[in-house]
Subunit: 250 residues, 2 copies
């Protein structure tokens, strides 16, 4: 039986999604627990990797099991063996051909920034702190320059092993709202695409933050997006502001 | 010069507000840091204690200093010496007679509950988890029974050393809203009063949770509030769901 898992995790204390020797990873924890329940080694396929410190509100994974678990029992059994910073929110039976990574059609990430003189302790794990003023309307205007199908070499890890670096950004909005707990403006960069290269979202957000501080103009961005010159991109924004919020399937 | 400090803290890793030997407390951290800056031992007066694990979005404290700090510099200097789970959000100069505790006219606390089968990792530090269904409308109706001036013996710590146990609850609402990050209903119990005894909010919320689960009726609550019989109150709700959100001054 093939199962589709919806997973939340606070990435703070994980070395990312992908299993690694001697490191605590989300995939590693899930494989350890589900292998125990199955009584045999299992492979948990995620929709994609997330880097160390990156969070997920709805990561998707698939796993094939031979034992006759019900969805509800499987969810409870897995959660009962995990620490509280990772949780299976939902389990459902999936068609045999469903694969969390290969069946994925796209993803939405949110990057959060608290723009205030002082960083609220309630957001310090989940948002990047910027104390300098940010022009949200200008960043939202500049966000349009990233829409469309491009080669994202300028906005991805230099050592990325991706063969093809062409991806399509379908939606990208920058919005600010008052967050009462932070006592500050919380800026959310929401980006949807058919796929993302390593560091791509954080590099794009880092570039927009320079726009928001008035340090980068639209022409430079346009040139970086079209021309693929890595030197024109901004600094990569820190991992802990980034959250995977949705994975799309047909 | 007398200063008024507005403080946020994530109570998870603190043994409460009040200074204690060999324990990490918020008051202890603040007094350590501000004494260093002042070059002499200082007393930081809080609006009141919060228990171990309880959070604050806007705790108020006052402190008298002889060095000529500006508000901005004092804030930056204190924050620069604290861990990220406690932050001075604001500093302002206050009249000589201002005292965070004695000048306080009342407080508002929020108690948060995630009502869902699975607890989101993003709320596990800040909200109590209840997987059984809760009747929010019924809890909100029952909340009215707690309004007014009463002796709160039945809803406070047995070993409370408070001489007078009469307090007035001025507002009390129970509201539920969808929280996208939790993927669940977040229920907020918002209570305002002229003061609260130790465990009072958590005991009242614990009692209302029994109402919400259909385990306690309105008559029992009425009798507990009026008659002061501790056996009629519910279990004390866990500390980590509780947050001090506002302290009122004239």
């Amino acid at each position: 039986m093939n199962f589709k898992l919806t997973i939340q995790y606070d990435g703070t204390d994980f070395c990312g999604w992908q299993v690694q020797d001697n490191e605590r990873t989300v995939q590693g924890e899930l494989q350890r627990v589900i292998s125990l329940l199955e009584g045999a080694e299992v492979h948990v396929a995620g929709s994609g990797r997330t880097d160390s410190g990156v969070h997920a509100e709805a990561q998707i994974a698939s796993v094939k099991l031979s034992k006759p678990f019900t969805s509800e029992k499987l969810r409870a059994a897995i959660n009962g063996n995990l620490w509280g910073d990772v949780r299976i929110m939902n389990v459902e039976k999936a068609p045999e051909e469903f694969h969390a990574r290969f069946s994925a059609k796209g993803k939405t990430y949110v990057y959060r920034v608290v723009n205030a003189p002082v960083m609220s302790p309630f957001w310090s794990r989940y948002a990047h702190h910027e104390s300098r003023p940010l022009d949200v309307a200008r960043m939202n205007d500049a966000a349009r320059l990233f829409l469309g199908k491009h080669d994202w070499t300028a906005f991805s890890a230099a050592n990325s092993d991706a063969e093809h670096r062409v991806r399509t950004v379908q939606e990208f909005n920058v919005e600010s709202r008052w967050d009462a707990r932070a006592g500050a403006s919380l800026i959310e960069f929401t980006i949807r695409g058919d796929g993302f290269l390593r560091y791509m979202v954080r590099s794009i957000v880092g570039t927009l933050l320079e726009v928001g501080r008035g340090e980068k103009d639209f022409d430079t961005i346009q040139t970086a997006v079209v021309g693929g010159d890595r030197n024109l991109a901004g600094a990569t924004a820190p991992a802990h502001g980034l959250t995977l919020v949705k994975v799309y399937y047909e």
